[in-house]
């Protein structure tokens, strides 16, 4: 059979005490004033003070070695903390990229000096990262990236433009994917560099999304001089390093919980005994969520066992985005409330925010079309 299998998730993933601790922390830290409208930002809500509190509590850099300020806890414990944060709609954006992607990349490929300088600050929730991959002419086709880092005596001179760089304007560092030499192979001659965003020659310009929110940026580099030790990993290995990040990026609970606040608000306004169609719609969404959680936890288990669940992670992201995008449309059929940001009703506001964010769910982290291509290739079609 050619089907793609998800092994059972590790039994210990329930972690009831840890869940209870995170919930108590969230109730106390966010408080009742933290509105559903704020929660509906999901993992795009930025709050540096919150990230620092989370770091103090020991819930950032959870799996990192203690010598780098980490806590040497399991991948599964980290998963549980993430899931609880997301379900509550906690403002996790400040540390999201550094904790999820940058720290593991530095731990795996970074120099001793890079690790010592940065990892403890990531674990403390005081050092934030952004991802410099996409460019004006390089989106899905990441290998078309043109930003160049020219090797020179003192290090590199960088020229080019990165685009859609989430929270670059509030980050300390970027991990830059760029060309460092000529290569026949489209994937060759690329590297990852650690960029201190205060370096002269870097201009960060805001791009507002359709809701008027500022998370996107354009980051341009004009003759930016980076030191030699900005290199992460090996010269020319950028492509392999970048693609190895993707299983971590694609399978987490953020791939099915982006619309979760809207779903709970929908349940709130439906009341405890709504009529049949509403009851069945909630039941159906619940079934989908249960199965997706199970699949996502299965991937977490594979990652924890150092297996390579690239295809499974891609499937979770694809199915998760479909579900997250369906929730606002279902909400619309069940609640006689139009989405509106300035409505006095909580539901209308949450609905508006989620509806306007929903198109991005199948763009960010690999578009739906690209993911489907990866799945088909994984099944031997090409």
């Amino acid at each position: 059979m050619s089907a793609i299998h998800f092994p059972p998730p590790p039994a210990e993933i329930a972690f009831p005490e840890l869940r209870a601790q995170v919930r108590a922390f969230l109730r106390e830290t966010l408080g009742p004033a933290y509105s559903p409208y704020a929660r509906a930002r999901s993992w795009t809500g930025f709050d540096a003070a919150f990230s620092q509190k989370l770091g103090e509590r020991g819930w950032l850099g959870m799996t990192m070695p203690k010598k780098y300020g980490g806590h040497e806890r399991s991948d599964l414990e980290r998963y549980v903390v993430l899931e609880e944060l997301l379900a509550a709609g906690a403002p996790v954006a400040a540390h999201w990229i550094s904790d999820r992607q940058s720290a593991p990349t530095l731990l795996k490929y970074g120099t001793a000096a890079q690790r010592e300088m940065i990892l403890p600050r990531i674990a403390a929730g005081t050092c934030f990262f952004c991802i410099g991959m996409s460019e004006p002419d390089s989106g899905s086709d990441l290998a078309a990236a043109r930003t160049r880092a020219e090797p020179v005596a003192e290090g590199f001179v960088v020229n080019g433009t990165k685009l859609w760089t989430t929270y670059a304007h509030k980050s300390h560092y970027m991990i830059l994917f760029c060309r460092t030499s000529q290569s026949e192979d489209r994937h060759g001659g690329t590297s990852q560099l650690l960029v201190d965003l205060t370096t002269p020659g870097i201009t960060i310009s805001p791009i507002l999304d359709m809701a008027g929110e500022h998370h996107f940026n354009e980051v341009s580099f004009r003759d930016v001089v980076l030191p030699k030790d900005a290199l992460i990993g090996q010269m020319g290995d950028g492509w392999a390093q970048v693609t190895s990040e993707l299983a971590f990026e694609r399978s987490g609970p953020e791939r099915f919980l982006s619309s979760f606040t809207l779903l709970t608000q929908l349940i709130r306004i439906l009341g405890e005994a709504p009529e049949g169609a509403a009851r069945r719609s909630i039941g159906r969404l619940t079934a989908h969520l249960m199965v997706l959680r199970h699949m996502s936890q299965s991937v977490a288990g594979m990652l924890a066992r150092n297996e390579n669940p690239m295809l499974q992670a891609t499937i979770v992201k694809e199915l998760g985005a479909l579900l997250e995008q369906e929730i606002p449309e279902i909400a619309r059929t069940l609640a006689a409330t139009a989405p509106a940001h300035d409505d006095h009703q909580t539901f209308a506001q949450v609905f508006a925010r989620t509806l306007l964010a929903a198109p991005t769910f199948s763009l960010r982290g690999g578009t739906r079309e690209i993911l489907r291509g990866i799945i088909a290739r994984g099944l031997g079609l090409r």
């Binding site: 089907a3 209870a20 969230l26 069945r280 039941g283 249960m290 694809e318 291509g373």
Partner: protein
């Protein structure tokens, strides 16, 4: 059993089953009546004998009860594998009948068996009177043992004496109505904590596994076909629209299987935590049914006209998908079950409900 011995045992059982099922699949396909008027798919005695010789009907039982002590995922995996080859085989039904008999302390089933509800078990002198009708019993006409669970949870093991009214589902599998009006003696009945709802849930669990299996069979066939069929000078597999249809089928097939395995893992708690068992089964059956509804038409789409012919072996799988999604609760029925349970707890209870850990988030 240590992890490694159980892993290799699992692999060995799955391999043995796969060889047997794929060897017998062509013959089972050839035996399907050409015209709907010719009746249901015939009983495959050699297949049943082979399955019985391997001990598969006992797969869910502990070693002490005569089984292999397999985990339910592996045991129910056999149901999935048989379904992937569209075999006429009440294997899951018999496994579950044996499980309930063993739990109730009754003798195990002779031959093919099924669990039924809708029949009363009432005192009649020194014996028990069985009266009422069980509808849509899989392979009812072929059964040697019927296991009844009445509204009070009483279990009766019956070896004959019922009247059969023949029927069949969309795939031509026998779905018969069994009429009971007879008296059995005391040793064939026992009290249990099962209920008709739980028996239906057990049926839904094996249908979810079977749907996952049929979906895997469909996906495998589709992949082979699009790699082989050439149009416009290229295999269909080269076209992006085809690749995306295959990817949609693959994601839904994976979800159906994952959901069915999630529910299978809850089987050991069927009596200790029946509400949780039914919740997992509800999600699994709903998800598998939805996957079936999406994948069956796509499978036909990528096959073109050949796929809708009687002589091409796609319809045994797709008609099973369309039949099984309605058996033991449709998506609508299980959505209702989950929705009622969820909404009763209100919005603050939703995340605790999903995680199984109490405590509010806000």
């Amino acid at each position: 059993m240590s992890d490694t011995t159980s892993d290799s045992m699992t692999a060995m059982i799955a391999d043995t089953a796969e060889r047997l099922f794929s060897d017998l699949a062509a013959q089972a396909f050839a035996a399907i009546p050409k015209h709907p008027g010719d009746g249901a798919v015939p009983w495959d005695a050699p297949l049943w004998r082979a399955v019985e010789e391997l001990g598969f009907p006992l797969a869910l039982l502990e070693e002490e009860a005569g089984g292999f002590g397999l985990d339910p995922l592996t045991a129910l995996g056999l149901v999935r594998q048989a379904a992937a080859h569209a075999l006429p085989l009440p294997l899951g039904e018999t496994m579950l009948a044996n499980l309930v008999l063993a739990q109730a302390g009754l003798a195990l089933a002779e031959g093919p068996a099924a669990l039924v509800t809708g029949v009363g078990i009432n005192r009649d002198g020194d014996g028990w009177r069985l009266s009422g009708s069980a509808a849509d019993v899989p392979f009812g006409r072929n059964l040697q043992t019927v296991v009844i669970c009445d509204a009070s949870g009483r279990i009766a093991r019956v070896a004959g004496g019922w009247q059969t009214a023949e029927g069949r589902n969309l795939a031509g599998e026998p779905r018969d109505t069994l009429h009971f009006d007879l008296v059995v003696d005391g040793c064939d009945t026992a009290d249990s904590s099962f209920s008709p709802d739980l028996i239906n849930g057990l049926g839904a669990l094996i249908r979810a596994q079977a749907l996952a299996g049929a979906l895997e069979g469909v996906l495998t066939r589709c992949i082979a076909y699009v790699n082989e069929r050439v149009q416009f000078g290229r295999p269909l597999a080269k076209f992006q629209a085809i690749q995306h249809n295959i990817a949609i089928m693959a994601t839904n097939t994976a979800a159906a299987r994952a959901g069915a395995d999630m529910a299978a893992a809850a089987l050991p708690q069927v009596l200790s935590d029946p509400a949780r068992f039914l919740r997992q089964v509800a999600a699994a059956k709903l998800r598998a049914g939805e996957a079936a509804s999406l994948c069956a038409p796509l499978a036909h789409q990528v096959h073109g006209a050949i796929g809708v012919t009687r002589e091409y072996a796609l319809h045994p799988l797709t008609t099973r998908l369309w039949a099984w999604r309605d058996e033991h609760g449709s998506e609508t029925d299980w959505a209702d079950h989950l929705g009622a349970e969820t909404l009763r707890r209100g919005h603050a209870g939703y995340w605790p409900y999903l995680t199984g850990v109490e405590g509010d988030l806000t």
